[in-house]
Amino acid sequence: MIRLKLRLLLQLVVVGGGIAAVAAAAVADTPPQQVIAQAARKVVKLYGAGGLRSLEGYQSGILVSPDGVILTAASTVLDSEQIDCVLDDGRRYVARLVGVDPRRELAVLRIDATDLPAFPLAAADSVAPGTRVYALSNMFGVAVGDERVTVQRGVVAVVAPLEARRGAAEAPYRGDVYVLDCTTNNPGSPGGAVVDARGRLVGMLGKELRSTASGIWLNYALPVTELAAGSDAVLTGTAAAAIPVDATRLDPRIVGAVLVPDLLDRTPPFVESVDPGSAAARAGLRSDDLVIAVGGRSVSTRAAVEQALGGLAVGDPVRITVIRAGSLEEFDLGPRPPAGEQP
């Protein structure tokens, strides 16, 4: 009886293997090397803010229209005066932040170019667990210029809700993600493409997150259906083009105040300098001012300043309270500008 069961099991395994093999043979018309090469042309390298400790200043992006629409993960990398975009062939562009879907942490960028290779989002379809995929991203920033991004192979291990956190904060997206069986989500990976064996877009690699349940680092992708919905929301203006509280910090440089470098665990938010002609300069902020509140919310670290500022919607008044020579002073810096705008 036991023998029989074993044999049955073996046959099941073989049948399963056979089906997988037949499926593999069916899609093997195009060699994987070629599928990868074609997919890689639609993945871009992005460079923006960061470079300090574990905050990388680079990530990846996916071209979704021939006229330069790029999807990527909404992150601090995009909080930069200039987002540089390098295509697979080495061409460089400055990317403009069109908008952000804060719930999906999805950002839409645009470059001024035409006739680009791109993944069509229109035909987006879900895939089932067990689907073989390739992940393409500029993880660890290992590719520069015209060098091709990193390619990894894996399998969609499970489709499940994302229950994850970044530090102490919960990730805002609660929908299903594709959990992958290989280590895809590394520094630089966010915004990378996950494609199937035919090179069709399956999903986008998300930010580095840890499971709320186990604390382990997650390897996951936002499904392509969510990408389509998210980019639609941004492009039609139904998603707030603001970045949510606690999800993304905003450097007060955006209003012209340069804080001391964030080198300590709790860097006190001293103003190092003030950009001439900026809102901060006009309001009268000076170097050596110690910021103690933003919008009436008390802050004691540089990170808290960035978080408080990131919590303000575009257009909200920016009020900054500082200690100067032992006394409290308050300054009104006008409306909070959008993240991509020059100060």
């Binding site: 090397q33 091709r148 990193t150 390619v151 192979r153 290989c182």
Partner: protein, 571 residues
């Protein structure tokens, strides 16, 4: 069928299970799939046999891969550095072998060791790693986390994630240029082990991985030194040398318009003498196009110091083809200090120390000498080349050598070289050199950089043999014909280096033991006299028929030989 399981061997058991599955066609497995699987199992089994588990005592260990039947194995410098000269290695056959350190390339993180006790080791074959494509299936065989306590390696499979990657030096050295990136798991302990393609050919040696906040475990990005880089350095390594990487004596940077241009250059460098200048745009190096600074570093990082390679630049809008001689990156003492730094020798004197404590089997295979990893193997290689030269010598004898004929540039010439005197008659005049004295006394004929001295050294190496001439060592291998003179050229040659009577020379020796080139320096930091010796295409004996003599970028002359007497008359 299952009853016929032979005694306990997991692989055999698996093979039997596979056979059982093969015997049940009813379930409809495509035979192609089963064949592919059987082939993959066989390829991995063959590679398993070539994997070396290296144990470096308390300081850990790593992996290696056998590349010859007589036991030469490649590994990482950082794996053998703590072990010193002697180490214990295990193979998948379950046996331990003593091994001796042969050669080191600290910058490239490569070491060559030799396992002892057999001349029929299973070995892997180096592939052409430039043929590797992103997406190719690959696997690593090694000793991650030193798990191979039974000496059988772990196998991790994946795909090639990137080719021609540049990884900045970790610390001061260990630069990974032009490396392969894989998603096969590369963990601590995999270092030095082989990376194989689907056919089981060796495409690289694993040695590095991106480790960040998740700890020192695989995160999906491992890096392997390419087989082509390993092949370039193999001659130097087999010669027991302390190999160095190359520099142009110039730095490059990306200009505002994206071109790769020379940002600084040493005016004492060979490249300066050959015509490289500030702001020149680098177009290609060693035949590979250069469009980014990374690409430039990639090409340069795979080349040993001392090679002559073509460099194409755009200079003031004009394309220039230069032939440059690559300089060393480090001073010899600097490299020796790097090697010594991490070695666990109580005297702190590196592998040279503690010689008396070496195992008996290794003691006879090790000789310390400055500038070398293990001088013993230099003698082995020098004597191998010496035997080839002796076999090819034919009737060449101790009598005077007479070479006479027409200059391609017009006019007649006659050269006579004996033990005591070298004389050359050229249309422009006659020069002579005391062949028994200091050869750097006068670099004659004028403008040649020392042609007569080069001919004297050539004759002495052939007649007396390398071991008897001055201080002659094995230098390594190099491209046979960087100037593209010889129609039969293209492959690589052995190179001997000799320091004799005030001059330094490098002699290129082909597989048949014929000397095909002599480069001779009468002074450092000056262009050598380069003699390129070719035989007539239809001459099986390979007697010299044509000498082309160069100094830097200037051709001194081309000698078409009509009379060739290599001292045959004398005993």
């Amino acid at each position: 069928m299952i009853l016929h399981v032979p005694p306990p061997c997991l692989q055999t058991l698996l093979a039997c299970v596979a056979a059982a599955l093969l015997a049940t066609p009813a379930v409809g497995v495509d035979p192609i799939v089963l064949e592919a699987e059987a082939r993959r199992v066989e390829v991995i089994r063959a590679a398993t046999d070539t994997a070396v588990a290296i144990f470096a005592g308390s300081s850990g260990g790593g992996s290696g891969v056998l590349i010859t039947a007589d036991g030469y194995a490649l590994t990482n410098f950082h794996v053998v550095q703590p072990a010193g000269v002697a180490m214990t290695c295990g193979l998948a056959d379950g046996r331990l072998y003593e091994a001796v350190l042969v050669g080191l390339d600290p910058t490239g993180d490569v070491a060559l060791i030799k396992l002892l006790g057999r001349d029929d080791f299973p070995f892997a074959t180096l592939a052409d790693s430039d043929e590797v494509e992103v997406g190719d299936w690959c696997f690593a065989a090694g000793n991650p986390f030193l798990l191979a306590t039974d000496l059988v390696p772990s196998i991790s499979a994946g795909i090639v994630s990137g080719t021609h990657r540049y990884q900045f030096p970790a610390g001061t050295i260990l630069e990974y240029a032009d490396c392969l990136q894989v998603d096969a798991a590369i963990n601590p302990g995999n270092s030095g082990g082989g990376l194989f393609d689907a056919a089981g050919q060796l495409i690289g040696v694993n040695g590095r991985a991106s480790f960040e906040k998740r700890g020192r475990v695989n995160v999906g990005a491992g890096y392997a030194i390419s087989a082509n880089q390993l092949r370039n350095f193999l001659g130097c390594l087999r010669g027991g040398r302390l190999c160095d990487h190359a520099t142009l004596g110039a730095t490059v940077a990306t200009a505002a318009d994206g071109r790769v241009v020379v940002s600084d250059i040493l005016e004492t460098s060979d490249t300066w003498r050959q015509g490289l200048r500030y702001d020149d745009e680098i177009v290609s190096l060693a035949g590979r196009s250069v469009r980014t600074v990374n690409a430039f570093k990639n090409v340069l990082g795979t080349l040993p110091a001392g090679w002559q390679v073509p460099l194409v630049v755009r200079q003031g809008g004009r394309r220039q083809e230069l032939l440059v001689r690559l300089a060393r990156v480090h001073a010899a003492a600097e490299l020796a200090a790097i090697v010594t730094a991490g070695a666990e020798q109580p005297e702190g004197a590196g592998p040279a120390a503690g010689e008396s404590e070496l195992p008996a089997a290794v003691r006879d295979l090790y000789e310390a000498r400055p500038g070398f990893t293990n001088y013993h193997f230099n003698v082995v290689e020098r004597d191998r080349v010496g035997r080839a030269i002796a076999a090819a010598r034919g009737k060449a004898g101790k009598g005077p050598w007479v070479l006479a004929g027409q200059m391609e540039e017009g006019g007649e010439f006659r050269i006579e070289v004996s033990d005591s005197l070298a004389v050359i008659d050229l249309p422009t005049g006659t020069s002579e050199l005391d062949a028994g004295g200091e050869l750097d006394a006068s670099p004659v004929p004028p403008g040649s950089g020392g042609l007569l001295a080069a001919l004297v050294v050539w004759r002495r190496i052939v007649v007396e043999g390398p071991a008897a001439v001055g201080r002659t060592t094995y230098w390594g291998r190099a491209p046979r014909d960087p100037r593209g003179i010889d129609p039969a050229g293209g492959d690589s040659v052995d190179v001997l280096e000799t320091v004799v009577a005030g001059v330094e020379a490098r002699l290129a020796v082909d597989a048949g033991g014929r000397i095909v080139g002599v480069d001779l320096w009468t002074a450092a930091d000056a262009d050598p006299c380069e003699v390129r010796i070719t035989a007539a295409a239809d001459d099986k004996a390979g007697r010299p028929a044509r000498l082309e003599v160069w100094r830097g970028s200037e051709r001194f002359g081309t000698f078409l030989l009509e009379t060739v007497d290599l001292g045959e008359a004398a005993p």
